[in-house]
């Protein structure tokens, strides 16, 4: 009987030394407790998954591009000011075709921080973190060209990228409403750089700055 226990102990040690412990890093595909061959069609069902593989289509992708001439089911985007930044006469829109309030400003700040600040920097001076890594010529917002640029043209730049394509389109990352929110925040950043003590109107603010 002792031998049986010895053999068992040996098998246990062997199994542990082969299987190892939890949490060890490994690169091979994970083992399956209920493998696909024993339970076909359970874990991996023959259905396309987002960004998944497909054996059916020639390019191997489950996601399909839109066929030519497809019509969007979403509401018609016929508001040129809102969706293209263009006024009725074809010039760039000045001002905002959306409501301007604190909520939108907060949304703009959040979106700006995610999508713009890596290059344009937290204050819009073009000194984002990527500059240290070789991103060459991110312009500052704080010059006359960009202060005077129409909101619609900024919208167009976010949507299609800059003319020299150093900045590419962010249309896939920012909804049109979010682009306007970002522009709103950019305007706030620009305004902040030209602030003077005359802009401080509250008593508490004046005291904080030692103006009173």
């Amino acid at each position: 009987m002792r031998n049986v226990y010895l053999v068992t102990a040996f098998v246990v040690v062997l199994a542990v030394s082969i299987l190892g412990f939890r949490g060890t890093k490994f690169t091979q595909p994970p083992m399956d407790v209920f493998p696909e061959w024993a339970f076909p069609g359970m874990k991996r069902q023959p259905k396309p998954r987002p960004q998944g593989e497909s054996n059916f289509f020639a390019d191997g992708r489950a996601d399909r591009p839109l066929p030519a001439g497809v019509v969007s089911r979403n509401p018609l985007r016929n508001d040129d000011a809102l969706y293209a930044g263009k006024a009725a006469d074809g010039s760039w829109v000045r001002g905002f075709p959306v409501s301007v309030d604190a909520t939108r400003m907060a949304r703009g700040k959040e979106r700006y921080t995610i999508y713009c600040s890596p290059c344009h920097g937290a204050v819009g001076d073009g000194n984002g973190i990527t500059k240290q890594y070789g991103m060459g010529a991110t312009p500052t917002y704080h010059d006359d060209r960009l202060r005077k640029m129409a909101e619609g043209e900024i919208f167009n730049t976010i949507t299609h990228g800059s003319p020299n394509k150093n900045m590419q389109s962010y249309a896939d990352k920012l909804f049109p409403e979010d682009r306007w929110a970002v522009i709103l925040y950019v305007r706030a950043l620009q305004r902040a750089q030209t602030g003077t003590t005359a802009d401080v109107t509250t008593d508490a603010g004046k005291q904080a700055l030692g103006l009173k």
Binding site: V4, T8, R22, M42, K47, I129
Partner: protein, 217 residues
């Protein structure tokens, strides 16, 4: 006729029973330890076609998760970034690096970068990213300290028990919405996590389903 079995054979049935009990104990312990995603999946760190470092991009540079996984707040799927997303910076930064050849090829031809999927729920599980991140469940809860990973490894088991732990008692796993993608954020202490979590559960009307059809269809 009296000596066919030695006297020691009298003990044998009992010894066999004891051994079987010990053996079933070992097998149970082994199955509990090994036949779970805590062993089979945690630690999975496949070699990717591009040696992309989350520790550099999300950690050192501080780029928000949503810069690349941009649909996570509006879609059930936290999408992989398009090649153009990479090229937003890498059209200027390290633009001739041989390590990025796969990305450049994808950008020019429109072919996919053959990323290897790490976190993969079974097809009968319908997990929705948007509903979780919009209700204060951080990326960190399921994916771990991604911003410190040179190579992304499967960090949490993502088993059904793992999901249910949170669905039964979500409060300690919730955080302010603006900290969802801040993987270094922690509640000050367990008591505060509980009180503010309870507030979030109430304010955001969080009622995670525990019925089968909540996640399985």
């Amino acid at each position: 006729m009296s000596n066919i079995f030695p006297k020691s054979a009298n003990k044998l049935p009992l010894q066999i029973i004891v051994y079987l009990v010990v053996l079933s104990g070992i097998l149970t312990a082994g199955a509990t330890y090994y036949m779970t995603p805590k062993y089979t999946r945690v630690g999975y760190a496949p070699v990717q076609p591009v040696p992309y470092s989350h520790a550099l991009h999300a950690g050192q540079l501080g780029i928000d998760c949503r810069y690349c996984h941009s649909n996570v707040e509006t879609s059930g799927v936290a999408n992989l970034p398009t090649a153009q997303t990479c090229m937003n910076c890498h059209n200027q930064v390290k633009k001739d690096s041989p390590l990025l050849a796969v990305v450049r090829h994808s950008f020019e031809t429109g072919e996919s970068v053959p990323w290897v999927k790490i976190h993969q729920t079974p097809d009968y599980v319908y997990f929705n990213h948007a509903i979780h991140v919009n209700r204060g469940v951080s990326c960190w809860e399921c994916h771990g300290q991604i911003n410190e990973m040179e190579v992304v490894a499967h960090d949490k088991p993502l088993s059904m028990g793992f999901c249910l732990d949170c669905h039964r008692d979500p409060a300690p796993h919730l955080r302010p919405r603006d900290q969802v993608t801040n993987l270094d954020w922690r509640p000050a202490n367990a008591t505060e996590a509980r009180t503010q979590g309870d507030k979030f559960v109430h304010d955001w009307n969080i009622k995670p389903p525990q019925s089968c059809s909540g996640c399985h269809r």
